[in-house]
Amino acid sequence: MKIAYPHLINFFKDKPSIEDVSEKLFQLGHENEIIGNILDIEFTPNRGDCLSLLGLARDLSVFFALDTLPVYYTERLEALNLNFENHATDDCPAISFLSIDIDEIPSKYEDYLESYFTTFQINKNNFFTDISNYLAYEMGQPTHCYDINKFNGNIEFVSDDFNENFETVLEKKITLSGTNCVFKSNNEVINLAGVMGGKSTACTRSTKQVLIECAYFNPESIIGKALKYNLHSDASYKFERGVDPSYQEQTLRRFIKIVSDHTNIKSIKYSSFVSKELPVKTLKFDVKEIEKIIGTNIDEELYKNSIIKLGFTISNNHINVPSYRHDIAHQNDMAEEMARIIGYDNINSTVFKIHKTQAPEESEYENSLRNFLASKGFNEVINMPFSNKTDASIKIDNPLDSNRGYLRTTLKHSLIENLLYNEKRQNESIKLFEISDIYSRKNNGEIENEKYLGIIVSGRVGNNYKEFSKKLDHQYLEEHFGIDKNSIFEIPRDGLDTKIKNKIYMALIKFSNLPKNLENLHNIEVNKISFNTYKPISDFPSSTRDLSFVLSDKNKIKELEEIILNFKSIYLKDSFVFDFYNNEKTNQIKIGFRLIFNSNHKTLTVDDVDNEIDNIVTICMEIGGVEIPGYK
């Protein structure tokens, strides 16, 4: 919510700077940002009482003494004879109406009203609606203005199932559906309660006779409606967070005062319909309890004076909670009030000891299994659980989109996707695993949960000269992990979006079926987490080149290796020895290096890679006794 500092500062005797106000707001838990002379404040959803100049000034009054408060119309109000029926008093326990008839529509606004529109660059609408909008900003209580001549005088509040068209005051046409709280006149919906009024009864620039409605709606009755119909309004934001249920007359008296500041009023009439008086909440005034919760000594006078400034009253050693503080229910809430006022950072911490509760460390096996698989060259993936429908899948009522409307009942498809993704990124040796709970629906509707290990492999066994020409297959999985061969299956490539021919093997194993004594499972040496800074990955394709050298001097091998495997360049991403042959007859060594080039900024051209290769070869040739058969 945006609050103008010049507007807020009017409430205080001393005039703290905007920075002081911002700092204290922060201490009170109201995150904010200063933008020029505007405070853009983010209130937590339990503090609907702060969503106005007055509410915010009241919260800040524990730091800055209040001075000028709004002036209200104080004369007796003549009764309004309104034909109103409230058919849903649980949804709207209190509502008031005010009718005003004015002589003339003012040609200009007083400074305080004008400033609201100019400061926030809000377009004016019409005299009464403009006051209504300003009043919500100043006092936090939304009001709605009906042109009295646009309906026949009867009005009813209804909560019911609707399937009816409604055009809002902003000329947006919607179809009401499901249960809604509305105001009706002559059987026509004229206002979607707590959200937005209708066009048919809206005030215009020529309206001189107005009916102003001011209500307390139960937040539960209206929450979600603004979102449902995409009709976000200041009123819905405030009503959803809870306005003051006993503030209607005061608000309407302020409305009258603002009107009278601008024009001559011919007639004022008022009526109130309160179905249920909300009880005053009381709590014991108990500073010891507050000290116990916060863990620090509290000055009783400071506590007392502070909460009085916030609008609480104290009588007979009890605190009466003001009607606008929906968030206060017990001593912990009062402790938070006091902690905010002291400042969380000013509360000293107290060292204490936790004695360990004896409970099984349920994740030990799972963590050991992860480390075991990683030690075997497998990389763990974590996939989102959303998928298309299968027979036993659990339906998401409100999915992100139609392709993610169910929970997966197998790890299979996610792992295949992961594999294909990495194949497209030119990875030739892919060994992935995932451990996840899988949820499915039993025939009786109950939900079943099983933890699974999923493994998928394809391509070369490894990027080294001993494993480069070997292919990952079911035998590899059986031999390395002791996985039952019946759990391993081949994934056919038919229908997969790929031209790669390597076979894909997968194992999906219930955790409950996993051997507890997997080879050295618990003896894997796990390095302490190192949190090395990660290097951003490239979205551009890699280029691969092979360089095969022939050496007659075996002592040069290590030198050659060191040059190539440690070669520094902006494009060389990876290098390894993929081929090695010691021909004892000819006394020659053949050694092949695979070099993988990549850029984070572009797709490399042939020339880019050729230049890199030339640089590498030039340095290698300086060794002497090294040849590259066929190179240039």
Binding site: G295, Y344, S349, I354, H355, K356, N371, V381, L400, Y421
Partner: protein, 240 residues
């Protein structure tokens, strides 16, 4: 050099990796375990009762709306929006004093550059006689110093969680001088204790929760949360 002739190149055996999020989750749970918390787990599919009602999250709370929470099977279930229901089950099934930590996947109906529909949390609760906010601060300092070092600057600010009162959010000062929200915490709301059949006159508790992705991003300096879930081997291999 290796093998009998001494001329063979070293074998390039590429190590695999545990996913960085699971590494970070375990790292956090290990810290909590060293302090005295026992690790527990719970289901990812929950009822509204455990995910919201028991935690004092009223029907009007924005988190319960369809735009924030995934509902399943005609609103019979929710995908848990936090790991707190695990703590509820722990409080229901154990006697105080108790100290439990849990970590795992949670779900919110978000999907944009900075939010994912699934992410991970680690939470802890401690219930005993006379647990207070000053103690909570001490514990949070201990955890954050362990993660980010003793020199890190920390601030507490009031916040709102229905299941804790008082509630706080905790920020750390980043290298570039910006405050970064790092965890939420508070004194367990007595209503929640009573919901779990714990005498709130006798016992009080503290609770805290950290976003695992948040910690992993800061520690590894990963700047796009989506990178964790692309399953890109070039990314994953960096965390071996």
């Amino acid at each position: 050099m290796s093998e009998d002739t001494g001329i063979y190149p070293e074998l390039n055996i590429e190590p695999g990796s545990v996913h960085p999020i699971n590494q970070t989750k375990k790292y956090l749970l290990d810290i909590l375990s060293s302090i005295g918390f026992s690790t527990i787990n719970g289901p990812e599919i929950e009822t509204e009762e455990y995910n919201f009602d028991m935690l004092n999250i009223k029907k009007t709370h924005p988190a319960r709306q369809m735009h924030d929470t995934f509902y399943a099977q005609d609103k019979e279930y929710v995908l848990r929006t936090h790991t707190s229901p695990v703590q509820i089950r722990a409080m229901l099934n154990n006697k105080s004093p108790m100290s439990f930590a849990s970590g795992g996947k949670v779900y919110r109906k978000d999907d944009d550059a900075t939010h994912l529909p699934m992410f991970h949390q680690v939470e802890g609760i401690h219930v005993d006689e006379s647990v207070n906010f000053a103690q909570l601060k001490s514990l949070i300092f201990q955890i954050i110093y362990e993660i980010f070092g003793n020199e890190i600057e920390i601030r507490f600010r009031p916040s709102y969680f229905p299941f804790t009162e008082p509630s706080a959010e905790v920020d750390i000062l980043s290298k570039d001088g910006k405050w970064l929200e790092i965890l939420g915490c508070g004194i367990i709301n007595p209503v929640v204790l009573e919901n779990c059949n714990i005498d709130s006159e006798k016992f009080s508790g503290l609770a805290f929760g950290l976003g695992v992705e948040r910690i992993a991003m800061l520690k590894y300096e990963v700047d796009d949360i989506r990178d964790f879930y692309k399953s890109n081997l070039d990314f994953l291999k960096q965390f071996n």
